[in-house]
């Protein structure tokens, strides 16, 4: 089973929920931090990392001796990462998506591969929980191939918890795609609702069932409740504001360590998800496509 934890915006407590859900499940769980721009799970889980491997993308390197300036490479590239201009074939490796098209098409076999490092994938364990995280190289903009590498490390017989990047952009979709369920973490405020709507719209396209965890559930209004009820999205749990949780977070402690009573609540969230993803009863949202 694969569960992604996402949120329309940062700072809603997404990582808090993801890490505590994984830790509550203990040795049944694997956590994968897919927020490669700013991986945070390690701050709360303090894992032992035993393996780190570089992830690279093959980018073109042109041999000017062999190149006849025919321009075919530039025509096939969708990203302006290679083109003939004047009397040179220019490459912009940082724009390259690594599709390999230009290399294949070059009639003179003038292009070879030069790897560009995207970042690293690290594996280890945090107590009983298997731990995987991606970390993008500073200055690198291409997160999706790195996220793909992180997801390759999903262990089938574990409950994989994927901490998605915040927002509703490409990397979020890359993380959520192919999972069995998405937990959306939000707050009961107008901003929380606004960003939740955007995230729901994006994830609906993928047809992955969703549920909401309402964090700091007692600080705002009832609009998120109403929205969930109206759009048939299951409200999995509400976590009221608690100084202890916030202070624990700032010291790098997981929610279920500062408030052990919550372990039971997280196990219940998991049971609800199991029920909701069970194919036999009627689908919860009725809008999967």
């Amino acid at each position: 089973m694969q569960i992604a934890v996402a949120s329309g915006k940062g700072g809603t407590g997404k990582t808090t929920i993801a890490t505590s859900l994984a830790a509550s499940l203990g040795n049944r769980a694997q956590i994968l931090d897919c927020d490669v721009e700013e991986p945070n799970c390690h701050v709360l889980m303090a894992p032992d990392i035993y393996e780190s491997s570089a992830v690279t993308l093959p980018t073109p390197l042109v041999d000017p001796e062999k190149c006849n300036l025919c321009g075919k490479c530039g025509e096939v590239c969708n990203f302006s990462a290679i083109l003939v201009i004047g009397k040179t074939t220019l490459t912009f490796p940082e724009l390259c998506h690594g599709c390999g098209g230009c290399i294949l098409l070059c009639p003179e076999k003038a292009i070879s591969e030069a790897p560009r490092e995207l970042g690293v994938v690290e594996t280890g364990n945090a107590g009983e929980v298997d731990f995987v995280q991606g970390r993008i190289r500073i200055g690198e903009a291409m997160a999706p191939p790195l996220i793909k590498e992180v997801k390759k490390r999903i262990t089938r017989d574990k409950i994989a918890i994927l901490d998605a990047p915040p927002g509703a952009s490409c990397p979020v979709i890359n993380t959520v795609k192919g999972t069995d369920f998405v937990i959306l973490v939000t707050e009961p405020t107008p901003f929380g609702l606004h960003d939740l709507r955007i995230a729901v719209e994006a994830i609906r396209q993928l047809g992955v069932p969703m549920g909401v965890v309402l964090n700091r559930s007692d600080i705002g209004d009832r609009e998120v409740h109403k929205y969930c009820a109206d759009s048939g999205i299951h409200l999995l749990a509400e976590i009221p504001f608690d100084r202890k949780i916030a202070e624990g977070y700032s010291r790098g402690n997981m929610l279920i360590r500062t408030n052990p009573g919550y372990t039971q609540k997280f196990l219940e969230i998991f049971e609800s998800i199991k029920r909701l993803t069970d194919k036999s009863p009627e689908p919860p949202t009725g809008s999967e496509s």
Partner: protein
Amino acid sequence: MKIAITANGKTLDSPMDPRFGRAPFILVVNTEGELLEVIDNMTNVNAMRGAGIQAAKSLADRGVNVLLTGHCGPNAFTALQAAGIKVGSDQSGLVKDVIQKFLKDGVGFADKPNAEAHW
């Protein structure tokens, strides 16, 4: 000599557009200040990335020698240099005025980009 200038409209009376890759039009004129061609740059305006690189290529393909514009990012600048196109950046005003000024007094050509990527 062919001179290209980034513009908001299709005529010499239009205001300049300060952006290179994402200007809606690029006008090409000769040394008499006569309009030779209007390049529709809209496909670049909508491009995800590399708009400036593609705009540089369309100028290179037309044998343009000088570009007058506002901002030029690093990738576009590299491409323009490879094509041997000189760049007069930080230009503003009406297209015809900028061209007249260039033909009369010339401009200092840039030796480096003057904008962040994504222009």
